[in-house]
Symmetry: C2
Subunit: 304 residues, 2 copies
DNA sequence: GACATCCATAACTCATGGCTATCACGACAG
DNA sequence: CTGTCGTGATAGCCATGAGTTATGGATGTC
């Protein structure tokens, strides 16, 4: 049914040498071992492959028919090994960077530069991940490193470097009463207490603690928020806010993605700032991953 | 270094099913056996082929790279098996018929007809063999059956059916004194005793007893013949006789190949007739071979 | 006739590939 | 929250496979 590549190799060697002893030497096996394997192969294909009469070894008609196929398969296996090696090398040098929205702030080019200067063969690949996965692909292995919002669910499975810490804003429709109040405020800001009764746009429930974080549950004293809708991307958030379905907290760096047309964003007093981090799986020790985290720590140091 | 075809088959099956248990069922092996073999293959190529995390099995990049090659090699092996099968079938139906000179006498068509009527798939192939091999290729296996002159050296290794028994002639140059004597003879023949002192053309020494036979040693009473030269074909014999190098005994059926231009042939009294037979190796039991010998026996019966 | 060459055989060892039984773990239903 | 199911990994066992060395037997060679 199946054939062992070794047998084909043996067969091709004997077919070339037409001498079992020399072929065995070339193959670094004993002559009886070679004889036996050829016999096995003959038994398997159900026909003699070599005439061994009268001190001469020569191919039979069947052997003649098999030889080119055997050579072809040996070459095919070499090609397969080469392809595997290539894929392995490519994989070794590829770093998949997950992100739910673009981190912006000039982070990607800065990190890319640092990574490539350390590992010239590195090929960073960006991967967009739905907001429903707060680990941005780390959890299911589809990303090697990721831009995530802290706090991260299952936080002890990951290590991270914070790359940005910014006040959170609230996105409001342009004609909202609070928009006017912020304009009148000395800092152009609003208090979170003024937002307590507003309907909020929430992340999908799969987001876990992150959903709570962007609803600022910790600043609500156990009073449940009103949920105006569920959003899974910046675009959806913009639409929902503009339509008056609710308001939404935003990281400063993400404001440009949501604020346009009928939607504005104003700072919120009385809630903790957002923290954007680069994270990786804790058990992932690959050099490229470590280098990216190190680069993130450096960048945070220089920009803070 | 080498792969076992089985491992590729297993790999392809798992890659299709993306489920070890189902793939194992399809392959008629137990699930642990399959798991183990896949692990072995991964160890051999030096890279994971499947991600098995989170209850899902899916191909890695390396696995993706290997899969088409694996499928290609499996297909290649099937093609190889088909080629072998075809060669085997062709060989099974091929009968190589050795002959040193054409047996003539309408024997070939008669035997061919009988063979094909018994085995419609049979493909008789004619093969010309030098006179140096009196077995006409039977000894070294290059012929399956052969037209031979009796007695055959190593006669017990072969079985045969006599297809022609004819007086022997002697080939003479046209102007030879014995030619005139034969013309004067009532039967147009000469006595072998008249030839005893003539130089004879002999077969190569490898021909063994056949050489002695065509020198008619048994009719010489231990007196060594004079050897005028060694000949390996009908053409050489003609030339040598025409040039006066010597005379040569001939089977009646072979006379047309030698007699022309300056060479004539006349019957010889006092020596045994020649016997042409179809022979095969005694241990060769193949039906086609048996059928050809049987056909030869029949034909001899009808023509004698 | 001793010798060299070359393939086949014999007897043995150890790795390989298969099996069954069982475990570990996530998903899911009650 | 707990029992069950589905799925892959692990453990232990056994038959076979593929290698070894030693030797035999046939065929040329000097």
């Amino acid at each position: 049914m199946d054939v062992h590549g070794r047998d084909l190799r043996y067969f091709a060697a004997v077919a070339e040498e037409l001498n079992f002893t020399r072929a065995a030497e070339r193959l670094f096996v004993s002559q009886p071992a070679l004889s036996k394997q050829i016999r096995m192969l003959e038994k398997q294909v159900g026909a003699r492959l070599f005439h061994r009469d009268r001190r001469v070894v020569r191919l039979t008609v069947v052997g003649e028919a098999l030889l080119p196929h055997a050579r072809g398969m040996l070459a095919a296996w070499e090609a397969a090994e080469a392809a595997v090696e290539e894929a392995r090398a490519a994989e070794l040098h590829t770093l998949v960077i997950g992100m739910s929205t673009s981190p912006g702030r000039g982070l990607l080019p800065a990190l890319r530069t640092r990574l490539v200067s350390r590992y010239p063969h590195a090929r960073p690949v960006l991967r967009q991940v739905n907001w429903a996965d707060p680990s941005a692909g780390l959890a299911d292995g589809s990303s090697d490193v990721a831009f995530v919002w802290l706090p991260l669910p299952d936080g002890d499975r990951y290590r991270h470097a914070v790359v940005a810490q910014e006040p959170r804003l609230v996105a409001l429709p342009q004609g909202h009463p609070l928009a006017a109040r912020a304009a009148a405020d000395g800092e152009g800001a609003v208090d979170f207490t003024d937002l307590l009764d507003e309907p909020f746009l929430a992340l999908p429930s799969e987001a876990g603690p992150l959903r709570d974080y962007w609803l600022a549950l910790d600043a609500r004293d156990d009073r449940a928020p009103r949920i105006g809708g569920v959003v899974g991307s910046a675009e959806e958030t913009h639409e929902a806010v503009a339509n008056g379905q609710g308001v939404a907290l935003l990281a400063t760096g993400n404001a440009p993605l949501v604020v346009r047309d009928e939607v504005i964003a104003v700072p919120v007093r009385g809630i903790s700032p957002s923290r954007l981090a680069v994270a990786a799986r804790r058990d992932d020790e690959r050099p490229l991953v470590a280098a990216y985290l190190a680069a993130a720590a450096e960048v945070a140091g220089t920009t803070s």
